[in-house]
């Protein structure tokens, strides 16, 4: 672990540590797994901000946007720290950890790590209104919607727009322009 990463870890305790993290990532210095997932946690949060959900996917008008980590959690505390205090529109953002396919209206974003088994089945059972985010090139082929990949030591992402459209989700064009590739 290099001196930059050590300095970053200290900073992470702060509420705005995320931005510093992105800055660090921009330089392309993904030092190790921990830093990689800190970046990914920030991406996960940002995805939620560029997605438009139909109103019926929420249990109530003031229900929060729930980001659910399915199965093994690779983020550790990083995700909670990033999400803490964030909002989308008038809704709060919360992090939940789940071990099986969530009930309808329970999760709006589901992160399935690359270690999950039977991904195609899980993803296909998620139902409408849930944004499926994963990692690795294979995730989209398995039926995922946004796949985060590491390329040239930088975190990028691919989007399967057909899948999001089928799920009734509307992705912001600004998200799409930033994506590495968009599959229609």
């Amino acid at each position: 672990m290099g001196p930059v990463a050590g300095w970053l870890r200290n900073k992470l305790r702060m509420r705005l540590g995320l931005i510093c993290l992105i800055a660090s990532a921009a330089v392309g210095q993904i030092a190790d797994q921990t830093v990689e997932y800190q970046v990914k946690a920030a991406f996960l949060l940002n995805f939620a901000k560029f997605v438009e959900w139909p109103p019926n996917v929420f249990a109530a008008a003031d229900s929060p946007v729930a980001i659910c980590v399915l199965g093994k959690d690779p983020f550790g505390q990083a995700l909670d720290e990033v999400v803490h205090g964030e909002t989308v529109g008038s809704r709060r953002l919360v992090v939940q950890r789940i071990s099986k396919v969530p009930a309808p209206r329970m999760c709006q974003v589901v992160f399935a790590g690359s270690g999950e088994k039977d991904l195609p089945e899980v993803l296909s059972s998620l139902g409408r209104g849930v944004l499926a985010v994963g990692e690795g090139d294979k995730f989209l082929r398995d039926g995922g919607m946004i796949a985060m990949v590491v390329e040239n030591r930088r975190v990028r992402f691919d989007v399967n727009q057909t899948a999001t459209a089928n799920a009734g989700l509307n992705l912001s064009s600004r998200l799409l322009t930033v994506a590495r590739s968009v599959k229609n």
Binding site: L16, I19, C20, I22, A23, A25, A26, F43, N46, K49, F50, E86, T87, V88, G89, F157, S172, R174, L175, T177, V178
Partner: protein
């Protein structure tokens, strides 16, 4: 450079029109350019604000996912806006995510605080915070050059200049045609005025071409010229008349001078102001002066006389009154001789003095004779006075002692002796009176006189009181009119009245004497008259009776010394008066004498 005031009016009008037109257009043009510049800046700011907002919105994704490539691509779209110098996207921590530069020399400025647009030198700096879900995720800074503005200003400026140039040409052409409306009447007037002043011909008139103020000016100018023309001709006529009169006077003067040269007397003439302009040959010869500078009467008058002389001459000239003056002139041999100078003003038809004509007559010998005579007379008087004074004592002795003899030795004398003594007594008394009258006569000549106003009536009263006894004896009546105040010594007036009245009592007929005293104004004097009903005087003796010892009657009936009337004449003449008598024998006589009405100088010791 010529002063603007001196430029002809037509040029002035053109210049004024040009200057005002150009100034107005320039002001308007500048106003338009300035307003456009302001409006354009505002427009530019609005445009820039919109642009930065759009770009900032478009880069939120790139900022959120830390994607410099996308951010750079987004910024690259600014290439279409040629005035964008460059743009930078900053992350929240201030580091640069992406930049766009039109020129390679562009460097990202440090991210500014806050948003908005600032003008910095030749460019605008717009910054805009990129916000994602209410949270700032980065900042966009965009630099925009103002070339457009200056281009625009240049364009508008050259348009304004073009308009001004074209308008000036049009204004010049128009005003060149229109200035004639004002300038030609004015220059016409000026030409007329110049012609009048150059030729002196007031018959010239300016032509009236318009009905405005200029037309009015021309009209008034012509009226003024007409007025001047008539006054000018009057003036010329008056001048000609005056010239003719002057020439006439000059001719007269020359004629007179020619005449004066042939006269034996010393003659001079003077201008109306008293300045002597001519002395005849005799004058020059007598004084022996020659040459212009010494040919001046002031040089020949005796130094003791000159002061009063000049004063008297100036007074006469100022009053226009004839001049009469006695003074001493220096003859060529250096001797001062007495002269009587007379000068009279000569007047022209209008009564103005045109010149003075004067003469200087030598009266030196006459004057010397007078002085000799006066001296002789004074000696004589002195002699008469002392003689009569010294005679009084022995005569009184004769009278007293003849009286004593008559009283004490009356019985010792026979009839012849008594008669001789009577003659002696009578002779002594007469002699005493004679001497006392002589004294009075001489005193009337020498005594100093103090003159005050006296009431002649009062003096008459005193006189009658003194004569009361004689009047009673002769049973006389004396009446009088109201008598005036006269300037004469009381003693002298009484002396005269007493002499005249006692004469009237003396030369009476058998009738009781009736005497009347009256007064009448005669010029500047009073004329007093004493009328009686006595024996009268033969006109042949009218003058003789006033001489000393001139008695007409040696009759014992009319006693007297024969000096009384001489005393009266002496007194009256001393006051500058005159005494005379009018009478017919048997019808009484009236004595008249004049006395001064006002105070005046009385010279003592005249003949």
């Amino acid at each position: 450079m010529r002063n603007f005031r001196d430029i002809p009016i037509s040029r002035k009008l053109v210049i004024i029109v040009m200057v005002t037109t150009t100034a107005a257009l320039l002001m308007a043009g500048l106003g338009i350019v300035a307003a456009d510049s302001i409006l354009f800046r505002a427009e530019l700011r609005r445009d820039l604000t919109a642009l930065t907002r759009i770009v900032a919105d478009n880069i939120t994704g790139a900022l959120a996912f830390n994607d410099p490539k996308t951010a750079a691509e987004t910024l690259a779209s600014l290439r279409a806006r040629t005035h964008v110098i460059g743009a930078c996207i900053y992350r929240k921590d201030g580091s640069v995510l992406a930049r766009y530069a039109r020129l390679s020399s562009f460097h990202c400025p440090p991210p500014g605080q806050g948003g908005g647009i600032r003008a910095e030198g030749d460019h605008l700096t717009a910054s805009q915070t990129a916000v994602l879900e209410g949270k700032p995720v980065g900042t966009l800074v965009l630099l925009y050059d103002l070339d457009e503005l200056s281009q625009r200003t240049r364009l508008y400026g050259s348009m304004v200049l073009g308009v001004v140039l074209v308008s000036s040409v049009v204004a010049f052409l128009l005003s060149t045609r229109l200035r004639a409306v004002i300038a030609s009447p004015v220059s016409q007037l000026a030409r007329a005025a110049t012609a009048v002043s150059e030729t002196g011909d007031y018959g010239i008139r300016a032509e009236k071409v318009s009905g405005d103020e200029l037309g009015l000016l021309v009209e008034r100018f012509n009226e003024m010229l007409a007025g001047i023309q008539s006054k000018d001709s009057d003036l010329k006529k008056a001048l000609a008349e005056r010239e003719a009169a002057f020439l006439e006077v000059e001719k007269e003067r020359e004629r007179f001078h020619f005449m004066a040269e042939s006269m034996p007397q010393k003659i001079f003439t003077a201008r109306a102001n008293g300045e002597i302009d001519y002395y005849n040959h005799q004058w020059v010869e007598y004084t022996g002066l020659s040459g212009k500078e010494i040919r001046d009467w002031r040089n020949v008058v005796h130094p003791d006389d000159i002061g009063a002389n000049i004063e008297a001459w100036q007074e006469a000239v100022a009053a226009g009154q004839p001049f009469l003056y006695e003074h001493r002139f220096r003859r060529a041999d250096g001797q001062y001789r007495w002269h009587l100078t007379r000068a009279r003003p000569m007047r022209d038809a209008s009564g103005r003095i045109s010149m003075w004509i004067g003469s200087n007559t030598e009266i030196h010998e006459q004057k010397e004779r007078e002085a000799e005579l006066r001296r002789a007379n004074e000696d004589l008087q002195q002699f008469a006075y002392s003689a009569s004074h010294d005679l009084q004592e022995p005569i009184r002795n004769v009278a007293i002692y003849s009286e004593l003899v008559a009283q004490r030795y009356r019985n010792l004398l026979d009839d012849d002796g008594k008669m001789f003594l009577g003659f002696l007594h009578e002779g002594g008394r007469r002699l005493a009176r004679l001497v006392s009258d002589l004294l009075a006569y001489t005193r009337a000549g020498v005594a100093e006189i103090e003159i005050t106003a006296v009431n002649a009536g009062e003096v008459l009263k005193h006189t009658l009181a003194a004569l009361a006894e004689a009047m009673r004896e002769s049973d006389a009546t004396v009446t009088s009119d109201e008598l005036p105040e006269v300037y004469m010594s009381e003693a002298h007036l009484q002396q005269v009245l007493q002499n005249l009245i006692s004469n009237a009592l003396k030369y009476r007929t058998d009738e009781p004497p009736k005497i009347h005293v009256s007064a009448a104004k005669r010029g500047a004097a009073w004329c007093l008259a004493v009328r009686d009903n006595g024996i009268g005087i033969d006109p042949r003796y009218k003058e003789r009776i006033f001489g000393v010892f001139k008695r007409l009657h040696h009759d014992q009936r009319y006693g007297g010394t024969g000096i009384g009337l001489a005393i009266c004449q002496r007194v009256v003449e001393r006051y500058g008066g005159r005494i005379w008598v009018e009478s017919e024998p048997g019808n009484g006589a009236t004595f008249y004498f004049t006395v001064p009405q006002h105070a005046r100088t009385v010279r003592s010791a005249t003949v």
